[in-house]
Structure formats: C-alpha cells, structure tokens
Amino acid sequence: MAFQILLNMFLGFTWMFLTASYEPIAFLKGYFFGLLIIFAFRRFFPSRFYLLRVFAIISLILLFLKELVLSNVAVVKSVLKPKLDMKPGIFALPTVLERDWEITTLANLITLTPGTLVIDVSDDKKILYVHAMDIEDANEAIDSIKNTFEKAILEVSK
C-alpha cells in the first residue's frame, strides 16, 4: 500500500515537471492520471489497489461514529432508568486478528464505545476480556462486536 501511494505521489510530481506548471492543480491532475494508471496495472502489485483500503479505513471511521452515537444513547437510557436492574458482566471475546495494531485498534474501538471496556488481552493474543455494563447474553455481544468492528478491521488489513 505504501509503495502504491509513494508511486502515485511520484507520478503526480512527474506530471508537474512534464507540463512545467508548478501549481497544486497540476499535481492533482498528475495524481489523477497516476491513479488511473495504477488502477490499470493493479494486478501488477502484490497487494490490492490502495484506494480500496482507503475506502475501508473511511468506512471503519464512519462505523465507529455510528456505534459511538448508538451506544451513547443506550448508556443514557440505562443511566436515566429509575430501576437499577442492569446486569454487568465480564466475557471472553475470542478474536481472529493477529497483528498487534489490529488488536490494539479493536480494543480501542470496544473501549471507546460506551457500555463495553477491554480489561485484558490474553498472553497468546487470542482472547480479549471485555467488561460490559449491561448484557443480557454474552454470545450476542460477542457476535455483534465480531460482525461490526472485527469485520471492518479485517477489511482494512486484507
């Protein structure tokens, strides 16, 4: 991915030198044409076309913002409830993520969305221990995290 971005920047600058106009617009044009060329030769690179990964990162950020709003509303609801009938609990979340930054991102996303909090990561990096403020069913919570955050992170690192 880094190589493709670097190559694209390089092609943008090459275009500026070819057209002998050193304005930002010339760089943008060159970057656009470079993007087209890299797209045409996308099978030439060992990793996939880098724009797909950029889109995956943007969709991960949007997903995080959506989850943040939704779970904040859920927390406000349980705080304002007169009856104290919530069920806190700790559950183990098995993860398929392997690299350190993926696990860190997943843990941070879980922690930053209110209602859940990562307490510990197991020594073999296979299990995250999560504290939830109010859970009915641990399996349901595991599934919802796996389907949203873990899937989105896998999409980025693929």
């Binding site: 190559l7 092609l11 090459t14 275009w15 070819l18 057209t19 617009i25 943008l28 044009k29 060159g30 044409f33 470079g34 060329i37 890299i38 045409a40 030769f41 099978r43 030439f44």
Partner: protein, 140 residues
C-alpha cells in the same frame, strides 16, 4: 541458460509508470504542441512491450487481461461515433465542436470533440501494435 532478470524487472516496475504517464501527457499535448493520439498510443504500446520484455507473455496477460482486437474495434467505434455525432446537429460529417468550460476544481478548460476522435486513434494504435507483437511473439 536462464538468467536472473531481477534488475530489469525492478527497473521496469518504476519506469513503466513514467512511460505511461508520459504517453498520457503526449496524448493531451496534441492540440497545441507536438504529440497526439498516434505517438501517445505507440508510447503506451511501448510500455506494455517493455513489460513483455521484462516478464513473459502469460504474466502480462494476467496483469492486463485485455483483448487487443476488441480494443481496436472500440477505438474505431469512438472515431466513427464522434464523426457521425456531427450529423445529429445538422452539420457535415466529421465537423467538430469545441468550447471553454469552467469546471469546479480544474478551472478553465478547453474541451474539444477532436480529443474523443484522438482517443479512438490512441486505442486503435495500442490495439494494432499489441496484436502484431503478440501474434509474432506467441508460441502457438
């Protein structure tokens, strides 16, 4: 003896993109300065031939799964399409239209339908050159 083409292949990975970018520059330069669809097309074909020299035909076919004969046909269609499009506006065959358009990011741009005709030339030249080279170079 099979030699190791590491240096050629690594250099190709960078040089290829500069050649293709230069061919696009040449293609768009055609209106006011030397260049145009023909040289642009030949340069692009040259870049693909460099790829063919550095790798083998199977790899190139995998990288660019293009049927060059279809490409030639599409190029001819572009050319005849722009030429015949003039008939819709009650002007003689091959009359071109042009105008200055103000685009949001790019600013003042001179658009001319001759560019689409040139794109047809570009595609035909790439298609024909690559068909010739691949037919000569192919084993079967």
């Amino acid at each position: 003896m099979k030699t190791n083409d590491l240096i050629l292949q690594t250099a190709t990975k960078i040089v290829l993109f500069i050649i293709v970018l230069f061919s696009i520059y040449i293609f768009f330069a055609g209106h006011y300065t030397p260049g145009g669809g023909f040289v642009g097309g030949l340069l692009t074909a040259g870049a693909i031939i460099l790829l063919l020299l550095a790798f083998d035909m199977k790899t190139v076919a995998k990288i660019l799964p293009i049927n060059y004969m279809t490409m030639t046909a599409v190029g001819l269609l572009f050319a005849i399409g722009t030429a015949a499009g003039a008939l819709l506006f009650n002007v003689p065959f091959l009359t071109h239209a042009f105008g200055d358009v103000h685009l949001p990011i790019l600013g003042e741009m001179a658009l001319h339908t001759a560019t689409i005709f040139d794109l047809g030339v570009f595609l035909v030249v790439v298609g024909v050159t690559m068909t010739i080279i691949q037919t000569i170079g192919g084993d079967e």
